[in-house]
Amino acid sequence: MAEVTLSNIRKVYPGGVEAVKAINFAIPDGGFCVLVGPSGCGKSTLLRMLAGLETITEGECRIGGRVVNDVEPADRDIAMVFQNYALYPHMSVYNNMAYGLRNRKTPEDEIARRVAAAAKILAIEPLLERKPKALSGGQRQRVAMGRAIVRQPQVFLFDEPLSNLDAKLRVHMRVEIKKLHNTLKVTSVYVTHDQVEAMTLADMIVVMSAGKVEQIGTPADVYSRPESVFVATFIGSPAMNLVKGVVSAPGMVQLADTMVACSTGSVATGTAVLVGIRPDEVVLGAAGTHRTAVNFVEELGPSRLYHSTFGGEDFVIQAPPKSADPKAESLAFDIPHHAVHLFDAASGRRIG
């Protein structure tokens, strides 16, 4: 087990494409860090640099205090689970799991013991003699994890391990991975573009965009205090509403056709801002200060999405089914002060 520290990590491909731009963060020993972002944001490149599959152009990568920039993947004491599982097709499940241990000259009885233990945890004991092609997607996924577990590495790396599974299995395996991490307590780095996976698995989320870190924090932090417009819209479904406005007075933001009261803190009057409001934090009520026409309604079951317009922008309100009439043509609502996120209109950074 080990701490992972990245300092000023950069990746520039030949041809000048800068895939990763000066990244800094540290994952504590036993932490579960999820790198999340849209495709092409550099999250996989970062993971592959950690694994030693890509060279590090600049900066320093440490695993357990040791600088590993020029250390071979084999000597980094890491294990990786690939998106396509990368099981060796010509080897049985047992041999797939034993391969890494044999390469390290582990005695056969020790290998047998470890494989049996891992197989038990993952419930793949009956499959040990099979070849990968005789396994289902979920079983292959387990074997890939088993191959990582038996090695007892300092760090687990996951490269979108669930994206090849169907929706139901994905939820199931997500829980399994979390359970596994709670049992083994091995430092893990997990790459995904799925925000639900990121929120549920992580105790530390790193939101990335265009090769840069947008925000680092716990899932709760990232959700409740997004540091930028990018994070605000990327995390959370349905996405946060954003409405253009100007701070007209302390505690008041002027929108196109209405005003919103909120705490503006130290933001100067006259600043152009983006007002962010999560759809589920809007409070419906007949006595609400705002009123808007409903364009159409989406029924989700546990809640309902009312698509409307507010401050001249598209605006989604998420509310429990009982709180309003599904056929309502207009709604009255309040926006609590704490529900308002203010972002600088120019930089997109959070200002209040």
Binding site: A74, P89, R104
Partner: protein, 293 residues
């Protein structure tokens, strides 16, 4: 999705098959049948009288020590050529598969020898190794090696092995390269993380995954050295010196065409035919099982 065409009757599919069948019958089955028939006959040197002798030609053949010598020669020749051309081309393909500068040029150049006709390839090597004028021979002489493939049987054998190997490397290289490229990159990465050094990675992951390609190439290469090397041998050594490079297929030609023993020569080709049929059957049986995984 598999596309299937369903024909209504028999006439159209039969018509479509005719050209291929015609070629097969005229150029393969008829000569084969003729050889078979001839192998049961003896003809006098002028081709005027022919008598049926049953298996006499075969009996004669297996009594002759030269036939066993030709078998031995073929064994040495084919093993050496198959082994050398396969291993050299695998090495080249492995290197070409890495991302190196000028990989395309390198690959193209490697494919060229395949376009050279066997006889021309033979002449090329013959010139280079010609005892009195060849540039390689001169270099060898100055290095103190008494090189003379026209007198020394071992030298001659070495020469035809080199030429035949050189000729076959291109073909093997292409297949190995395609095979290597079809191995998912993540497997190599996974084994690197699993602690396998490049050599171990090659022998435990890459080589086993290439086994269907390797197996296919072994069969093709054996067929090649058995039959297609005739041109090289004929142009370079003519089976000599003292029959040191006379392989089975060359002996068929030497006995029949040069020696005038049509019956004996036919018997030899029938034996070769049986060998190649056995080999092909063996290949189909295993290729269908996909070898190893």
């Amino acid at each position: 999705m598999e596309k299937r065409t369903v024909f209504a009757g028999y006439s159209l599919p039969a018509l479509l098959l005719v050209p291929q069948l015609l070629i097969t019958i005229v150029f393969f089955y008829m000569p084969a049948g003729q050889a078979m028939w001839q192998s049961f006959q003896i003809e006098d040197a002028f081709g005027t009288t022919t008598i049926f002798v049953g298996f006499e030609n075969y009996r004669e053949l297996f009594k002759k020590p030269e036939y066993y010598k030709a078998m031995g020669t073929t064994l040495v020749f084919s093993t050496a050529v198959a082994f050398l051309s396969l291993s050299i081309s695998l090495l080249l393909a492995t290197m070409a598969n890495k991302q190196i500068r000028g990989a395309t040029a390198y690959k193209t150049l490697l494919i060229w020898p395949y376009a050279v006709a066997p006889a021309i390839a033979g002449v090329l090597w013959l010139f280079m190794f010609q005892p009195s004028m060849g540039m390689v021979s001169k270099a060898l002489k100055s290095a103190g090696v008494d090189w003379n493939p026209t007198l020394n049987g071992n030298h001659a054998m070495l020469l035809v092995i080199m030429a035949a190997t050189w000729k076959q490397i291109s073909y093997n290289f292409l297949f190995f390269l395609a095979g290597l490229q079809s191995i998912p990159h993540s497997l190599i990465e996974a084994s690197a993380i699993d602690g396998a050094r490049p050599m171990r990675r090659f022998w435990t992951i890459i080589f086993p995954l290439l086994s269907p390609t390797t197996f296919f190439l072994i069969v093709v290469n054996i067929t090649y050295v058995f039959f297609d090397t005739f041109g090289i041998i004929d142009a370079m050594t003519g089976g000599g010196p003292a029959k040191a490079t006379e392989t089975l297929v060359y002996k068929v030609f030497a006995d029949g065409r040069l020696g005038g023993d049509l019956g004996g020569s036919a018997a030899q080709s029938v034996i070769l035919m049986i060998m190649v049929i056995a080999m092909t059957a063996f290949q189909f049986k295993y290729i269908e099982r996909k070898v190893s995984y």
